[in-house]
Symmetry: C2
Subunit: 195 residues, 2 copies
Amino acid sequence: MHIGIFIYPEAEVLDFAGPYEVFSTAARLCPTKAPFKVSLIARDKAPVRARAGFRVIPDYDISQHPELDLLIIVGGVHTKEMDKPEVINWIRKQAAKVKLLASVCTGVFLLAKAQLISNHRVTTHWEDIADLKQQFPTLTVVDNVRWVDNGEVISSAGISAGIDMSLHLLERLVNRELALKTAKQMDFDWTENGC
Amino acid sequence: MHIGIFIYPEAEVLDFAGPYEVFSTAARLCPTKAPFKVSLIARDKAPVRARAGFRVIPDYDISQHPELDLLIIVGGVHTKEMDKPEVINWIRKQAAKVKLLASVCTGVFLLAKAQLISNHRVTTHWEDIADLKQQFPTLTVVDNVRWVDNGEVISSAGISAGIDMSLHLLERLVNRELALKTAKQMDFDWTENGC
């Protein structure tokens, strides 16, 4: 199973490092049940300067990468990505192919821009809730949850909530036992949604 | 104030990305009170292949970098680093210069190897507690805490505990208000040590 994490200039570091850690740790703990390969994908193959100057080398660019089962769109300074048709078109095309599509933090703005969500229930960073409602008024934007699961599209709250959501995706893709085991390996106090 | 995070091949991704996120977010939220610059430092200037193939470009190598106020040694597959005299010597020399020295996860093994801790109270990843006790029997190794603060040397438990410890360091370096504000910005449920 191939998990792609889309990164871009000024992407928030923990938005991609958190999910990367979850899925790669799960794969290490249980390679038979979680035969995951995790890749960072960017518009270009050049190193990406994420937020605060953190430089990371993508594994693939959007023009050529393996088929993905799960695509995660991260947040950060997402505004410039909104204006890149090649990025938005790539996300739209991938959405038609992947099993699951997820966003961390303000990554949900890119899903909305790509018209992949319209009247969905979604969430984002608490600071961007009002902005998301204003820009995409047909969405039902939910506050005070770690993630919102629509079946095929899952969105998480801010930054560290991407870790909580990734553990949830792990539960969906494999089982709860591996999600709990992965959280324990990461010494992470998994915050799940309340009832 | 300059914060250096030492990374190496097979370092655990969240061990360095977590603290990086904490200090760079704090600097963004309050540049006057937290005039932090965060840098990744490696043995060489070449890209570092961290755990699960995550490739990151260090800002400096150990032969030439700015003076550091805080040095964080991360964990992961630390065993090969134990056998690199140039790395261990560099850590030892830096320890004499920095205000604070910290470890995440198994990074504490490198501090012990550099003879920077002897009869200190320390912690590490739950899976490595027994190994640390055995290799360095004069240490008092503590379990079930997020971090142990010795004043000048602070060690954290596994992987995600590096985020909790970094927030604690932020409280020490600036104040509690900024630590809480940073956790909120990261949408992170800060787990502190119990009483």
